[in-house]
């Protein structure tokens, strides 16, 4: 197993924290190997930044990711920059309201910023995305990801963040359920 995940977004969206949670969950919770490369430069306040997480069941010799298996885009600029590098059979996950895909490639979308605002604070969009990512790609297990979220967020916001994580997880389950039904031709209730 060798999974390369790139998470991109605006600086300040918590992209790096999201990457760290995924990597830490894999390494500590799931007993795998993981590395994290974070890129943020002077553009990090509002510009594009990214986190590159590699998860493997053996040693990782090169942490830098050129062609990710999983690409998570939380901003349009991140999408524009990283999308061409995504592997052909890779999984694309986007922030539904902030990213407009340029082609008709199959992808998973979640309005995590909107959900986060509904939960009372838009700062938790990244945690929602981690929940979504974990459920869609199964790169990390639910328990490991959830426990890492609880450890990584500021004290006093743990409960809220876990709620946000669950929101992303549940939305992913609903999305997968919907895809299963659609594949079976059951689009509506009556049809």
């Amino acid at each position: 197993m060798y999974k390369q995940i790139t998470i991109t977004g605006f600086g300040g969206q918590g992209v790096v924290l999201a990457g760290r949670i995924v990597g830490q969950a894999a390494a500590i919770g799931d007993n795998l190997e993981s590395t994290l490369v974070q890129s943020y430069g002077p553009e990090s306040r509002g510009g594009a930044c990214s986190a590159q997480v590699t998860i493997a069941d053996g040693p990782i010799y090169f942490p830098y990711i050129q062609n990710p298996d999983i690409l998570v885009c939380m901003s349009q600029s991140g999408y524009d920059k990283q999308y061409p590098s995504l592997k052909k059979e890779g999984v694309l996950i986007i922030e539904q309201d902030l990213v407009k895909p340029t082609d008709s490639r199959d992808h998973f979308a979640i309005p995590c910023t909107r959900f986060s605002e509904e939960l009372g604070n838009k700062m938790m969009a990244n945690i929602i995305m981690v929940g979504f990512l974990a459920a869609i790609t199964e790169a990390v297990s639910l328990d490991a990801a959830r426990a890492t979220v609880a450890e990584s967020v500021p004290k006093g916001t743990v409960e809220k963040n876990l709620k946000a994580f669950d929101k992303g997880w549940e939305f992913a389950q609903a999305t997968l359920k919907g895809r299963r039904h659609k594949a079976a031709g059951q689009i509506g209730v009556v049809a």
Binding site: I110, E170, F171, Q173, A174, T175, K177, G178, R179, H181, K182, Q186, I187, G188, V189, V190
Partner: protein, 524 residues
């Protein structure tokens, strides 16, 4: 061979009675079990009367009228046929079997055929054995219960005599000389036995608007419920609506050995399981559809089917109680607390045996009764009670679904047991908002006025007028469809729309919220 079976024979005064008399004159061998009741026309024996005999302990009921075309009054034979067929179908649903009720039609000179018919039916009843129904007489309330103690336990003495209740009461607003304040004052003054007071207690719709307005928070519906129970010990003030058919049916269901046969006609594409952590409780909608078929042809069973389809849509395959009984709501609210408690005990046993963890129901009355009234009367259920709307909100909030918007302006009819009694007026509106694409509802402020009746009591010209006014208002505000949340609202508003004097003026499309969601939801 005399037996202790009881068979009630309703015998039309005209054609068949002549045949019967011929048999009596020649001392023919009419089975001794048959107790004959002479009636003016078989068409006048309603479903309620047919069933009442069974409820009171008859093992079989025969309705014998004139042959088609020979009815003295023209339509009697056809009416008798419809009444018997509908009652038989309901008997089948509730597990009594349709064979215990039969219609016969005879000409005056067919005495031999009549005798053979009577003997054959009696033999059949003997073969079937005693009816499982146990006759229930209303038990007198505990001697300690007086109008004063009822008033005291509901804190009616806190009434300030301000009259806000009456000024908000939909019945009073429809012009009926009815006043919650008057009822409270009279009962406090010790005049509970006056016929006006009894009639008023019976007429209350128990919608709960007065309780909403009362500055002293006197729970008037609860008080009315308790007073009805008090009166039940003596005699009922007036017969409930529809001849008390539904109360009879529910009382009959208190028989432990009766095994209802629900869910026989479930469409094949609905997936249910023998055992499941989630149990779906249907309620009485299926019975209503049969009972009101002739006049309104309501499709309330569709609510149940759509609910099950929605559960399937969200990958839930629920279990069903094959022998599901009524929750007892209508018995409780028409004063028959003892039989309500019998039903509650049977339901508690069946629900515990099902092993389910959560019960979902699409009926607001079942929801209220199972979740609030059962614990109030000491019956605890070992599972969580969830209304279908709560389940839908829970699942829809998870996302990934979308809705095809409903067309036209929509008026929403609140269910009193959901919106008032459980303070959930927001929940159905939130769900509905998703279906209307932002078009505002025709809404005179939530929750809306009562649909006009509850617990099959107190239906009269004023409640009808109230319903008509309500529909007119919705129409004037541009409403094109009424969305309801309770099968009974559909039946009552549907009845108001049938007004012959108004023609099609009041006709409006009606749909249950659950069905509306089922119709428009899809995986995005």
């Amino acid at each position: 061979m005399p037996t202790d079976f009881k068979i009630v024979l309703f015998l039309c005064n005209w054609g068949p009675h002549v045949a019967y008399q011929t048999l009596q004159d020649r001392r023919a061998d009419i089975p001794v079990e048959i107790k004959m009741v002479r009636i003016p026309c078989s068409g006048r024996i309603t479903k309620a009367l047919l069933f009442k005999a069974l409820e009171m302990g008859a093992d079989g009921v025969l309705l014998i009228g004139c042959q088609s075309g020979t009815c003295r009054y023209g339509t009697g034979t056809a009416a008798a046929l419809e009444n018997t067929e509908d009652t038989r179908q309901i008997m089948d649903l509730m597990g009594l079997g349709q064979e215990r009720l039969q219609l016969g039609n005879f000409l005056p000179d067919q005495s031999e055929a009549l005798l053979a018919f009577l003997q054959e039916f009696t033999q059949r009843v003997r073969d079937m054995g005693k009816s499982p129904i146990v006759p229930r007489t209303a038990a007198a309330p505990a001697a300690a219960e007086t109008p004063e103690t009822v008033a005291a336990s509901h804190d009616v003495f806190a009434c300030q005599d301000c009259g806000k209740c009456t000024s908000a009461c939909p019945l009073a607003l429809a012009g009926k000389s009815f006043s919650p304040r008057f009822v409270a004052a009279e009962i406090i003054a010790g005049r509970a036995q006056r016929p006006e007071v009894r009639a008023a207690v019976n007429a209350c719709l128990t919608c709960g608007t007065c309780y909403e307005r009362c500055p002293s928070a006197v729970n008037f519906p609860e008080f009315i419920k308790a007073m009805r129970h008090y009166y039940q010990g003596g005699e009922l003030t007036a017969a409930p609506a529809h001849g008390g058919f539904f109360q009879s049916m529910m009382r009959a269901m208190t028989a432990e050995t009766l095994v209802p046969r629900r869910w026989q006609a479930l469409p094949d594409n609905i997936r249910v399981r023998e055992k499941s952590p989630i149990l779906f409780f249907g309620g009485c909608a299926s019975y209503f559809d049969v009972f009101f078929r002739k006049f309104l042809n309501p499709q309330t069973e569709r609510i149940l089917e759509d609910s099950l389809r929605l559960l399937n849509f969200f990958d839930v395959e629920p279990a069903l109680l094959a022998d599901e009984r009524c929750c007892g709501h209508d018995l409780l609210w028409s004063g028959d607390r003892d039989n309500f408690l019998r039903l509650a005990a049977l339901n508690a046993k069946a629900l515990a045996a099902s092993g389910a963890e959560e019960l979902i129901t699409a009926c607001p009355e079942c929801y209220h009764t199972l979740s609030r009234e059962y614990p109030r009367y000491g019956v605890t259920l070992p599972l969580k009670i969830t209304h279908m709307h709560e389940f839908l909100e829970r699942e829809i909030a998870k996302g990934a679904v979308a809705f095809k918007p409903l067309e036209g302006k929509i008026a929403f009819q609140d269910a009193c047991r959901q919106s008032r009694f459980n303070d959930q007026a927001e929940l159905p509106r939130k769900l509905l908002q998703r279906l209307t694409n932002g078009t505002p509802l025709v809404d005179g402020g939530a929750p809306s006025v009562c649909c006009g009746n509850s617990a099959w009591t107190g239906c009269d010209a004023f409640s009808k007028r109230m319903q008509v006014q309500h529909i007119e208002k919705a129409k004037q505000a541009g409403g094109q469809m009424i969305v309801t949340a309770c099968p009974k609202c559909q039946i009552h508003l549907g009845c108001a729309m049938e007004d012959v004097m108004r023609g099609d003026e009041l006709k409006m499309e009606m749909m249950d919220l659950t069905s509306a969601i089922a119709k428009s939801i899809y995986w995005a």
